[in-house]
């Protein structure tokens, strides 16, 4: 979106560095003079919040790693030691555990924002797919990290999730054994999960860099969904406008994060994870962390192992096809009366699946989970393609300025 760099090095050192590595102009163009549409609302602060959370998780994670022991007879006790003996250990661990929840909360809001305003559409398909990749890596990291405290939920989550791969025909069992490093979840599993839990976040950092790069090539979408036509009139520089707005968003987000961490640190956790892992006893009711519940509900809704596992993975991967499943030329839901309703139904379906994922898989719960799982896939495979064809969109403004003058664009 930007033309030639407007950055002029001021000091002698900056001029010297610029000629050798133009990093100062790169940073200036990306985070200072970078033009952002002037009608962005507060739903656009989650990119900054997610960046903040990624750094927060890495920083708290690295310090926790200094006290944690990835060995089955010591892991649980080392976490208890962090809680009791390590200076500030309680806060550090609670900040990391609740940080995962806050990270997922932000990413879900970020994803729904993209869905509502059609941010995945031409020319932002690659940006969107990179986002899906980041989301999947986040899920992997969250799962790997949950195993490390070696409580009952850790152990049985590891068992259930690695056994998902045993559903693969012919090679499934061999793959599961390879993942576990044995015939059941044991020390080799814990040890490698720890190594991978440390590694994957840095892969996320790399993909986030690509995500931001792709964003800065196409420019941001905006609530009107109309592309920027006049950079001078319709955009404002990233700093101070977006920087300050993001700071307000992060501050508000931190209030919730701090409340969870300091006042109800175990609210989102499962009490069974304070029981040390026992390979011979399965807890009566296994529940994943809240951010996996909708997908878990889909897995359990299908009374066939291979199909259930396929549906679980398909429910995540299908979002990557969104740019091609949504046939409407209009980006923003602001001008799409039918899609706007369908969007909120879809949000309700996702929340409903989340609720059902936490209930026992029996009776009426199971039937509701089946109906909602079917609707989840219908939304992507049938409803979205059809709505795009039959819906009569409201008149789309010619430009961002026109949208603002019409008073349509929400300034949340």
């Amino acid at each position: 979106m930007e033309g030639h760099s407007q950055y002029t090095p001021k000091s002698g050192f900056a001029r010297w560095l610029e000629r050798r590595l133009p990093i100062l102009s790169f940073m200036h163009d990306s985070f200072v003079s970078y033009p952002t549409p002037k009608n962005l609302n507060y739903m656009w602060v989650f990119g900054a919040i997610l960046s903040f959370m990624l750094v927060a998780q890495i920083v708290t994670g690295v310090v926790l790693a200094m006290h944690y022991t990835p060995e089955t007879t010591l892991a649980f006790d080392s976490v208890e030691k962090i809680m009791r003996d390590v200076n500030w250990g309680t806060i550090l661990r609670y900040a990391h555990a609740n940080g995962a929840s806050m990270f997922f909360l932000a990413v879900y809001l970020h994803i729904f924002r993209g869905m509502y305003y059609g941010s995945y559409k031409d020319p932002r398909e690659v940006l969107w797919i990179l986002g899906v990749v980041i989301f999947m890596l986040m899920m992997a990291t969250g799962f790997l990290g949950y195993v490390l405290p070696w409580g009952q939920m850790s152990f049985w989550a590891a068992t259930v999730i690695t056994n998902l791969f045993s559903a693969i025909p012919v090679v499934g069992t061999a793959i599961t054994t390879w993942l576990l490093g044995g015939y059941s979840v044991d020390n080799p599993t814990l040890n490698r999960f720890y190594a991978l839990h440390y590694l994957v976040p840095f892969i996320i950092v790399a993909i986030v860099a690509l995500h931001v790069w792709a964003l800065h090539v196409t420019g941001q979408n905006n609530p009107s969904g109309v592309e920027v036509k006049d950079v001078k009139k319709e955009t404002v520089p990233f700093t101070p406008y977006a920087t300050m707005k993001d700071a307000v968003g992060i501050a508000a987000f931190l209030v919730v994060y701090a409340w969870l961490t300091f006042f109800v640190p175990n609210y989102l956790g499962h009490p069974d994870n304070y029981i040390e892992a026992n390979p011979l006893v399965t807890p009566p009711h296994i529940v994943p962390e809240w951010y996996f519940l909708p997908f878990y509900a889909i897995l359990r809704a299908i009374p066939n192992k291979l199909l259930g596992v396929t549906a679980l993975f398909a429910s995540i991967l299908i979002t990557a096809a969104l740019p091609w499943l949504d046939t409407s030329k209009v980006k923003s839901a602001v001008y799409r009366p039918l899609f706007r309703k369908e969007f909120w139904i879809f949000v309700a379906v996702c929340i409903g699946l989340g609720y059902l994922g936490a209930q026992p898989a029996e009776g009426a719960y199971l039937w509701f989970a089946r109906v909602l799982s079917a609707y989840y896939f219908l939304h992507f495979l049938v409803i979205l393609p059809v709505i795009g064809k039959v819906e009569k969109p409201e008149p789309v403004p010619e430009s961002i300025d026109a949208s603002i003058l019409r008073g349509e664009t929400s300034h949340v």
Binding site: W156, S184, T282, A361
Partner: protein, 176 residues
């Protein structure tokens, strides 16, 4: 050879082409050979393979009881079945089983049922003497197994696995 000839028919592979392909293939083979240890290191190591057998003394298991022993890190259920339980397992028609297998194929002596106590769905441990058939019930996703450890209802695809074992004495078995 003129350019016209080249366009008319594909050129004969030259000595250099063959060298290119052979070198490329050798490099690809070497790369695969170097990657293999990085992948194979994740498979069970020698110490895990070495723990692959367990002996169980059956004389301490009274009729009607189930004992759980650990084999390869997994629980193995050894169930001393009562005559009524044996009869119920043997009389079940194969047509009602999702994974049909006769009870006689799953035991060496009818009174002793030896099965791996890992649900074939997603690996939880089923609880004994529960469920519709008083066999096993998996609390995770509701699979029900009968008195022969065969799947009867729920998401599990197959029967509870029978581990390799042998009677090394009248009342002693070696699993694995």
């Amino acid at each position: 050879m003129t350019s016209k000839d080249t366009a008319a028919k594909p050129a004969e592979p030259s000595r250099r082409d063959i060298l290119y392909i052979a070198t490329g293939a050798a490099a690809a083979g070497a790369a695969a050979g170097m990657v293999w240890p990085l992948i194979a290191q994740m498979n069970p190591d020698a110490s895990i393979l070495a723990l692959a057998s367990t002996e169980v003394d059956l004389s301490s298991v009274p009729e009607g009881q189930i004992v759980t022993v650990k084999w390869r890190g997994k629980p193995v259920f050894v169930r001393h079945r009562t005559p009524a339980e044996i009869k119920a397992a043997e009389d079940t028609p194969l047509s009602v089983l999702p994974d049909p297998e006769a009870d006689s194929k799953r035991v060496q002596k009818p009174e002793w049922l030896v099965i791996i106590g890992v649900c074939t769905h997603l690996g939880c441990i089923p609880t004994g003497k529960e469920g519709e058939y008083n066999g096993w019930f998996c609390p995770c996703h509701g699979s029900v197994y009968d008195l022969s450890g065969r799947i009867r209802s729920g998401p599990a695809p197959t029967n509870l696995e029978v581990p390799p074992y042998a009677f090394i004495a009248e009342s002693k078995i070696k699993i694995g």
